[in-house]
Symmetry: C2
Subunit: 346 residues, 2 copies
Amino acid sequence: MTQTPRIPGRVPAAPPTLADVAERAGVSRQTVSNAVNNPELLRPDTLERVQRAISELGYLPNRAARNLRTRASHLIGLRINPVPEGTANATMDRFVHSLVETSSEAGYHVLLFPGDPLDPLSGYDDLLRATAVDAFVVTDTYLGNPQATWLEKRRAPFVAFGRPWDKPDAAHAWVDVDGAAGCDLATTHLLDKGHHRIAWIGWRKDSWIGEDRRSGWYRAMKSRGLSTTGLASRVEDTVHSGRSASAVLLDEAQPSAFVCASDTLAMGVLQTLAERGLAPGRDIAVVGFDDSQVAQVVHPGLTSVRQPLEQVAVEVVTALRGLLGHPPSPPRQVMLTPTLALRGSS
Amino acid sequence: MTQTPRIPGRVPAAPPTLADVAERAGVSRQTVSNAVNNPELLRPDTLERVQRAISELGYLPNRAARNLRTRASHLIGLRINPVPEGTANATMDRFVHSLVETSSEAGYHVLLFPGDPLDPLSGYDDLLRATAVDAFVVTDTYLGNPQATWLEKRRAPFVAFGRPWDKPDAAHAWVDVDGAAGCDLATTHLLDKGHHRIAWIGWRKDSWIGEDRRSGWYRAMKSRGLSTTGLASRVEDTVHSGRSASAVLLDEAQPSAFVCASDTLAMGVLQTLAERGLAPGRDIAVVGFDDSQVAQVVHPGLTSVRQPLEQVAVEVVTALRGLLGHPPSPPRQVMLTPTLALRGSS
DNA sequence: ATGCTCGGATGGATCGTTCCAACGCGGGTG
DNA sequence: CACCCGCGTTGGAACGATCCATCCGAGCAT
């Protein structure tokens, strides 16, 4: 009498349960469960019989029941924040794609939830208390990250994409891309092309990421013994800012190349060049950051530092598996190096 | 003895259950459940007592248990497909943001799963059989949609973003944006600006969406009694195609404006103009489609047809609530009208 | 023949919630 | 006064899976 009577033609047809499979295979429920989760415990002939019943019925374990019993949802929570209009950056969207792909290979699905931009913690708490997700991937660590501290205190498993800028020795798991190395790479590329006066256009000083990227430009210049005086500018991340900053720099410092903290700023530089009849790549070289779609389609192509987001996703998922494993492994901290997507602008 | 002994200091702390709340409030479990789901059934004083206990303990119903009992997950499955590099389109990513936002207001979360581009059905079946999601949002209907037919046969609730091109009278729920109206809008805008020879660059004839958008351009031209002969071109959706198509059209048909089926193609047009020293907006007008980030940051700004994705998300969620309601309401079919984001190129 | 071991299979309990039938109780009716 | 009604509340069962202790039987040593 474990089998509920099914009204014929009931819609949608209720999926088969463990008990259905067990009855068909002539074994107990537990044996079916073992066939699914610990096949090595069964005798080969029993296993085969059960597996045939499973595939004949098209059985798949009910997620809710399994989640309830095992206290795991196999879901990873990811908070997505509104994208500002007018910037070129779609890093997060690209990352989401990679993360979905990678985590699905590890048996996890990605659950998206919206966040109130004013409250960095909103959303996390509810999902945690409802045990709706096993872990989080935290992405917005650029302004300090109360989330990380808070999640650590709640002992909730999470991996951050982005290092803990405000406390570099924090013990939680994180994966990040070395922005300084990226800008070093970009600058060195330009130096190798024969440029000596390479300008920097970056973000305001209170941006950790911005300062990190800037340091890469700085150290590449210094490693060749070149002066950086008057060659740097720090502005808002808008096309307009990039445009006016580059105009000023061209007038006052005569650079032959620009390295920018973002493709958005680089687009501003391209506008200034167009205005002055200068050809990007031939007269003046420009390098952006993030390898956005804009960099790919603009003429003549914008050379740009590309974050290895597929790798980031892989590392994030590896870290998650570690945290959720039995026993959990210690938090991993991984730093990846970006590459340079070469195009016509350099 | 319903209360499991909790090892003190156990990590992470197990969240409180219904039974915990019931004990604290001095009522039965069912009463707490009612307080959460049907507050109107309780006497006001009981309700208040229970609610206080709930907030003191920070109780939230366990998702897995609730899902198991109610046979609903409050999750919406969305399959995401790989984005081709080198195109400007991020419509889907923008839509995902809106969908997450809107569905969360309706009490739903979005579950992302990857799809094998070669198999339009992969992924759906597993989630369905595991009762992991309540419904799907299907987005890739541009090449016919076996998913829709298949899901209908499985009697799985779903809403399509994109009309059923291959069978226009299909009965399932869908929401779409009127691409023809968008291109009509764009073309009429150019006509009102005094243009008479307006060229079309679109996709190959086997794209339903492409033909739909083209028809908008065509009907706007015809409504003013203008000839379209020699003014249309159908190519691949790449910058390069847009560039060469526009070059040919300029040489052979002398248009004063271009309407394109995508921002990617429009970028190609802008390249041709730049090559020939023609100023977009002043010498030749260009309009794209999708209001991508590229349109927003390129100089001097690309006028583009903008899909009301926030509205699409709202309609999709409304349709879903209808399908999942008790009793379910009939499938809604909604057509929305895009707007025109005016910028310097026109 | 008896006892012991051990791989393989089993039934019952359990996770935390909601559905269901029933129950106590105060008030109105015959 | 017995009866019934309906509101508010209750305990037990159920959802479908996994964990746990137990059991059965074949193989081997005593």
